[in-house]
Amino acid sequence: MRWGMVVNLIKCTRCHACIAACRIEHFLPMGMNWPRLIAWETDVPGEELTTIPVRCNQCKDAPCVEVCPAEATKKREDGIVYVDNDICVGCRYCIIACPYQNRTFLSRDKDPGYFPGYERTRFEKAGRKIYPHTVGTTEKCDFCMERIDAGLAKGLVPGKDREATPACVNTCQARALTFGDLDDPESEVSKLIKEKNAFQLHPEYGTDPSVYYIDGKIGNAPSNIAPREEQTASHMQHLSTMEERAKQIFGKK
């Protein structure tokens, strides 16, 4: 069993609902985004610029797992790569090791509260009890493994039954996200990958992502896509400015 996701780039409306769903599901602090939509340059005339939804690829050969000195980043039997935040020492090696920039360090300033300077909302407070976030550790998308585990325990099928399926997949109005078992040739994801000639982002990194893309006009050859520096620039700026700006806009004056 290996859980995987297929993103349909032509159905995806870039609506960002997947991000909102993940924020609610995991009570994410303001400066934390597990899935993101990132700017992506293509070689398709008239569509030289697009955005694509990304999240942790749950790589089969995950460099983040290998570099973690505390063995806090682990890979499960079912392919899910996750961080044990009780063990994570905050060294951030994994952040450097992940070629996809899919990990974020939860520093204190990434958690100023929704409305900095004001009392935290009751949703935030309740969230900390249900889903603690440990400042000084690294976080990323974990394919909603709690949902999967709880669902499987009830005999449900991830990707088919809503309760066992990642939150972002459930909320997508465009039905652009499909979830399921990559090892099962009969699963929806396996069929889509085969029929639609799916591709992974930057396969040349050699990590064998479990997140696949279909129907995109971004060109199937990796050479078509933007150089990594470009992608990093827009991504890093996104994350580095948000907390500060949030404080400025929503903070107590």
Partner: protein, 732 residues
């Protein structure tokens, strides 16, 4: 053990009415997600999900306030509900007695479940001066569809209930994929695309789905009527019209044929900037691959040629027979509760009320039941006092009306203005009394999603903050004080009254959460039955679908559609266009905001912090503008700042600015930054659609140039632009 319950309710963060499940743990909302057992199948968008940040949001208005300083000075004193309501009632009575009930106006934002209260409230006081953004959003469609199908307005049948899905869909200035609007539903639309052969998108810029489309017609803003007439002409010239339908069920085909012949494809291509081949292909696909639907976006209603543009598109539907067939445009059968609008229709408009509708003599179609706000603003600025008391709920007229400066000056002259709102915004800063409103998570109410084929329930999940109250409660309480015969002892009785035809009660309905006429209960081909008219036919004077409208003719309008240039354009004002060389459109939707809403929701604001102006990289290069630069956009009326986003998907001659922008974080002075970035600072209220009064909001001309760094430090902008930001806007 924590007490956990799941409450079924309905989202109205846009017009969608998505089914929602809210998890409440010990009185606190701990989760929101879509309800799989609803018409939207468990999906929700970012706006709806981020509703959680309305709860405990410190910027919410929590108590009634009265203004103690000047308008726009931001000085307030908290008062009790009793004082607020009694003061309002006294002001209404005084104005009514001294100057006539029509000097009391009721205004609202986009119809989000309170239309029936504003209209009932206004009528119960004896005034038909309801101010609504309807005239620039949806009302022209409702009215002009109504000329053909009476009440049963036309909607896209992409549900498959009649056994087929539309084969060809035209998404005309719409972007339904990112927000449900104007009675059309994102979720059903996207699903139906799986069965759609040809998706044709008419839009000046690339949208999320132009890459999914068979054909993208990149049109010059404001020329849509020419395109529709050009397509009609091609269809007629090539003999592709639906002969059976046209012959038996339409009126005025020959006249239309003649009119359309004035729009040969070469001329249309020149007007619209769309290559000739694409226009021909679109016309053929739509005429041949039937059934088809056309979703019309409200951008077309923010143009001064709006009435005739819509008439042209409706005629395009008519000659292709795309009326009342399964998979085409269909008028819905109502839910068992009947027409929710009867909540106000049961108080009829009297001739006296009608005769005092401002702008009613000029904009005869628009005056069916609302007045023209631009006329009111003009009258104020001429020194008159058309309105004495203005009760405003939800909407931000300052933001959405054309030409912000005279709007602010005009509104300052209103003797007494009340704003009911969730947050402090430009209208609240203009008010004399501000009342705190409840969010949909905090109220019991009925949601009508514009009258369509269903109604839904909002079930209260948590208490509103402070003393905030639902719109229904607020209207009922003021209503009880000024016109007790029309109002109810409490909200529950009011809701029961709204449901009386079903018959059901609020308590029962709130458990059911939805009542509608779905699937096989819908009726197609109504004109072939006695549905509208004994022996068949349409509910029109001629009994036919009027391609040539006898109703419009009697009102003194052209019965046949025509194209007219926008008030300012490279063609209509070539001299002006030399100074303002770029076409400016403001019609696009953002998936994170709904009109003027949600800049105060942190999660949503992270997606788009500043209003963004899209510009072609080629044009940007000529102007020395780089991605992420702050730029001035200037028209003869003024200039605003937006952030430039270099975007290859827009014509080099056009720029697209984000509409309806104010800065909730800006100080009260300057009405919360309403002059800084809102494109309506640039628009002009004087060129209006003769039927509806809609001004050119989405098609004008401008020039664009880079802001100097020191200009951004101007103290009047506060700290809005001063924070160092690096090169690019956030990825979105």
């Amino acid at each position: 053990m924590a007490e956990k319950k799941i409450i079924k309710t309905t989202c109205k963060s846009c017009h969608g009415g998505c089914g929602v499940l809210v998890e409440v743990t010990d009185g606190v909302i701990t989760h929101i997600e879509g309800n799989p057992d609803s018409t939207t199948r468990g999906t929700m968008c970012a706006k709806g999900l981020s509703s959680i940040q309305h709860i405990d949001n410190p910027y919410r208005i929590k108590h009634p306030y009265k203004r103690v300083g000047e308008k726009g000075e931001g000085k307030w004193k908290q008062i009790s509900w009793d004082e607020a309501l009694d003061t309002i009632a006294a002001k209404i009575k005084e104005a009514s007695e001294k100057y006539g009930p029509w000097t009391v106006a009721t205004s609202q934002g986009t119809g989000r479940g309170y239309n029936r209260y504003t209209h009932r409230f206004s009528r119960s006081m004896g005034s038909a001066n309801v101010i609504s953004p309807g005239y620039i959003c949806h009302s022209p469609r409702i009215g002009l569809y109504g000329l053909i199908t009476g009440y049963g307005r036309l909607y896209c049948d992409y549900h498959g209930w009649g056994g087929v899905f539309p084969k060809t869909q035209i998404s005309w200035a719409k972007q339904l994929e990112i927000s449900s609007a104007d009675s059309e539903l994102c979720n059903w639309y996207i699903k139906s695309l799986d069965y759609c052969k040809n998706l044709i998108i008419v839009d000046p810029r690339a949208t999320a789905y132009t890459s999914r489309a068979t054909l993208w017609l990149q049109i010059r803003p404001g020329t849509d009527a020419a395109l529709a007439l050009g397509m009609i002409n091609i269809i007629i010239q090539e003999g592709l019209w639906d002969k059976e339908f046209v012959e038996n069920w339409t009126y005025g085909f020959e006249e239309l044929k003649k009119r359309a012949a004035e729009y040969p494809v070469d001329k249309v291509s020149e007007i619209t900037w769309i290559p000739k081949e694409k226009i021909i292909q679109a016309a053929r696909l739509f005429a041949q691959d039937t059934p088809g639907v056309i979703q019309i976006g409200s951008s077309l209603e923010r143009q001064a040629n709006c009435g005739q543009t819509l008439r042209a598109i409706i005629n395009l539907l008519g000659i292709t027979g795309n009326i009342e067939r399964p998979g085409s445009m269909v008028s819905w059968v109502l839910p068992e509760t009947g027409l929710i609008e009867d909540v106000f229709n049961e108080i009829p408009l009297t001739d006296e009320m009608r005769s005092h509708i401002y702008g009613g003599k000029e904009f005869k179609m628009g005056a069916a039941r609302t007045c023209n706000p631009d006329t009111i603003i003009r009258d104020f600025n001429k020194g008159e006092k058309p309105i004495r008391v203005w009760i405003s709920v939800g909407g931000q007229q300052i933001v959405h009306l054309a030409s912000t400066k005279p709007v602010v000056e005009g509104l300052k002259k209103v003797d007494f203005l009340v704003q009911v709102d969730l947050f402090w915004g430009p209208m609240a800063e203009m008010a004399d009394i501000v009342l705190p409103a409840a969010h949909w998570l905090e109220m019991d109410d009925i949601y009508d999603m514009h009258p369509r084929f269903m109604i839904e329930a909002h079930n209260k999940c948590v208490d509103p903050p402070g003393e905030a109250k639902s719109d229904a409660w607020i209207f009922n309480e003021i209503g009880r004080r000024v016109a007790p015969e029309y109002w109810f002892k409490d909200v529950e009785t009011l809701l029961d009254h709204e449901l009386r035809k079903a018959p059901t009660t609020w308590k029962k309905f709130s458990e059911k959460t939805i009542s509608g006429c779905f699937g096989p209960d819908q009726v197609y081909y109504k004109y072939k039955t006695d549905y509208w008219r004994k022996g068949g036919g349409f509910p029109t004077p001629t009994g036919k679908m009027e391609l040539y409208s006898t109703v419009l003719e009697n009102l003194g309008y052209d019965p046949l559609p025509f194209f007219e240039e926008p008030g300012e354009s490279p063609n209509s004002t070539p001299d002006l266009a030399r100074e303002y060389p770029l076409v400016l459109t403001t019609g696009f939707r953002s998936p994170f905001y709904f009109l003027a809403q949600y800049r105060n929701i942190p999660w949503l604001r992270t997606f788009m912090e500043y209003p963004t102006m899209q510009i072609n990289p080629k044009t940007a290069k000529e102007l020395g503008i780089e991605d992420g630069d702050f730029v001035w956009i200037e028209s003869p009326r003024g200039k605003i700042i937006q952030k430039a986003r270099l975007f290859p998907g827009i014509d080099p001659r056009v720029v697209a600015a984000t509409a309806n922008w104010f800065y909730p974080e800006a100080p009260a002075q300057g009405f919360r930054g309403v002059f800084i970035s809102n494109p309506n600072v640039l628009t002009n209220a004087d060129h209006q659609d003769p039927m509806y009064g809609s001004p050119d909001l989405t098609c004008l001309i401008c020039k664009v140039y880079k802001c100097k760094p020191e200009e951004l430090k101007d103290p009047k902008f506060g700290d809005i632009f001063t924070k160092e930001h690096g090169g690019k806007p956030w990825a979105w």
